[in-house]
Amino acid sequence: MSDATVFIVDDDQAVARSLRWLIETVRLKVETFASAQAFLDGYDASKPGCLVLDVRMPGMSGLELQERLAARRAYHVPIIFITGHGDVQMAVRAVQAGAYDFVEKPFNDQDLLDRIQRAIVFDAEQRGKEVQRAQLRALFASLTPREREVLDRVVEGLSNKAIANTLGLSAKTVEVHRAKVMEKMQARSLSDLVKMAMQNSSVTS
């Protein structure tokens, strides 16, 4: 977790500096940006961590930055919005749009640090899942079209005989394909295979 970075985007430089000073007490790396545009230009998506974002800024607002990140259709760090007093509506909009969390100014230091830690854990989990999903996608990609057809029917719960009938193959051939699929997918059991197939379809759909 020590390699996580807290990205801070706040046009008020004094506030940004003070956040850095506070967050560095929990041994996290901090990068500050003076505007949403500066963040978009300089952010390295491969770095794990979280983004602490002031909801209101001149030029591009925090909400707009969130939209821009979403539009990239790639994974980005979870966002914690910092809102002013009475900005509840904005906070709700932000969370609906996929923000991880928000804190209202003035905030308690421990509260903010806790939320940052949770966001970083969440980010690590997401990145882990992302890796698993990528692996799964790679496994599926290794199957031949025929093997895919067999897999789809296995997942539907058809017997080898039924699969052979629908695909116009011999039961023996289906059995061979099925063993190959289990091997390629590194599935230990039929239920394992079904789970993987479901995960994959949820990712691709």
């Binding site: 004094a14 003070s18 000073w21 007490t25 209101r56 800024m57 001149p58 707009e64 007093h85 003035p106």
Partner: protein, 429 residues
């Protein structure tokens, strides 16, 4: 002979008599003529008298039926004559209730001096119009306006004041209502400005307070774990002090802004005013995601002005621009504030926005009181701004162009020499 003499005598006597008779007749005739002429004169005189009487009667009828109070007063204020309308005006039942008495009895105490002064002027030959508050014979309070002229006798001496007096109570009341209404609106406008300011203030103070809390907490956490050398704490603690000063600055500004005081004229650096307004409206511009750009001409001459008032003008213009752009959801939200250099003795300030501009049909009305295009506007901001600018001897105007509106106002610059003196003064003070 004797008889002849007698005869002659008789004849002579007869002749003499005849002559005497003729003479007498002549005299009588003349006398009659004179009498006739006298009668004619008398008739003529009677005619004149009749006409005079008729005239007087007519005048009196006019005066009596005149709906306004008509009265004659002597130099000491004694009421000589007054018409029925006048009697009603002062609540007198009969003429003797007021005639012969002093007019001052129905003039309110605070207007006695003014009334006397106007009386003096009329008797010195002037025609005057004056207004005063009156307490009638029945103690009713009302407002009156008198048009007074001197009345002169045959030798040209002023012997009375002829006054026509009107009850202006209702008019005065309407005027008073209007003024009260206006004061109330100004108060509402002020309150709403203050309300907005309070919200802005809360947000604005949150920034330095948040920074202070973060810096201080960071220090405490490091001290608790003992992983810090004291010298490392100097910088963050200095930041704490700076942010506290920043908060103090905001407070000072609000106090200056709210304080109700007479204009305090000083030599003002207009660029400084602009910078301070930008700082002060930062919350609102941030909130509406508006970018504010400054183009301040260096070496501007100073202006003789109440800086708080001028700040209010710039503040109103910035706020209007922000709201205009927010309400129409303009894509680009930018405000450019320029101070434009002029050769002469004028300093010009421009506030340019990228909002929807101003409709041509209303552009001449934007400075009118109660004119507003905003859903919750009172229509005071620009009107107040104009009166402030004009009271400083400047002018303000609005322009609409493709892609926004421009407001610019001018102020009188101080001749450079005085400006230097002022600078020297402010250095020493």
């Amino acid at each position: 002979m004797e008889s002849e003499i007698m005869l002659l005598g008789l004849v002579a006597l007869g002749g003499g008599l005849t002559v005497a008779l003729i003479g007498l007749a002549y005299l009588l005739l003349r006398l009659r003529e004179a009498e006739t002429r006298l009668h004619e004169k008398e008739d003529q005189h009677q005619g004149i008298l009749d006409r005079l009487q008729e005239n007087e009667y007519r005048l009196r009828t006019i005066i009596e039926s005149e709906p306004e109070c008509v009265k004659l007063q002597a130099a000491d204020g004694t009421v000589l004559e007054i018409n029925p309308a006048g009697l009603r005006l002062v609540d007198a039942g009969r003429p003797e209730d007021i005639i012969g008495r002093k007019i001052y009895e129905v003039v309110a105490p605070e207007y006695q001096a003014i009334y006397r002064e106007n009386m003096r002027r009329v008797f010195a030959g002037e025609s005057v119009v004056y207004e005063f508050r009156s307490t009638t014979l029945k103690g009713r309070t009302c407002w009156m306006e008198t048009h007074a002229v001197p009345l002169r006798d045959a030798r040209g001496e002023v012997y009375a004041l002829l006054g026509i007096t009107r009850d202006t109570t209702e008019h005065k009341w309407a005027e008073e209502q209007g003024r009260r209404h206006q004061t109330e609106l100004a108060r509402v406008a002020r309150l709403s400005t203050m309300g907005e300011m309070a919200t802005g203030l809360a947000h604005e103070l949150n920034q330095p307070l948040a920074a202070i809390a973060n810096f201080a907490r960071g220090c405490i956490r490091r001290l608790r774990t003992g992983e810090v050398v004291p010298a490392e704490l100097i910088e963050p603690l200095e930041e704490v002090c700076e942010q506290a000063e920043r908060a103090g600055e905001i407070m000072r500004h609000v106090r200056d802004f709210v304080r109700k005081s007479e204009p305090r004229m000083t030599a003002v650096d207009i660029n400084q005013v602009v910078r301070s307004v930008v700082k002060f409206t930062e919350h609102e511009t941030r909130q509406h995601e508006t970018v504010v750009t400054l183009q301040l001409a260096p070496q501007q001459p100073r202006v003789w002005a109440d800086s708080i008032m001028i700040e209010q003008v710039v503040c109103n213009l910035v706020r209007n621009a922000v709201e205009a752009m927010a309400e129409t959801r303009s894509q680009r939200r930018e405000i450019l504030i320029r101070t434009v250099p002029h050769d002469g003795d004028i300093v010009e300030i421009e506030v340019v926005d990228t909002g929807p501009g101003i409709d041509e049909t209303v552009i001449d009305n934007v400075f009118d009181q109660f004119f507003t295009t905003k859903t919750e506007g009172v229509g005071m901001g620009l009107s107040i701004s104009r009166s402030i600018v004009e009271s400083h001897g400047g002018s303000i105007r609005a322009e609409s162009r493709a892609g926004g509106a421009t407001f610019r106002f001018t102020l009188q610059a101080i001749p450079v020499k005085l400006s230097r003196d002022e600078r020297r003064y402010s250095l020493h003070s």
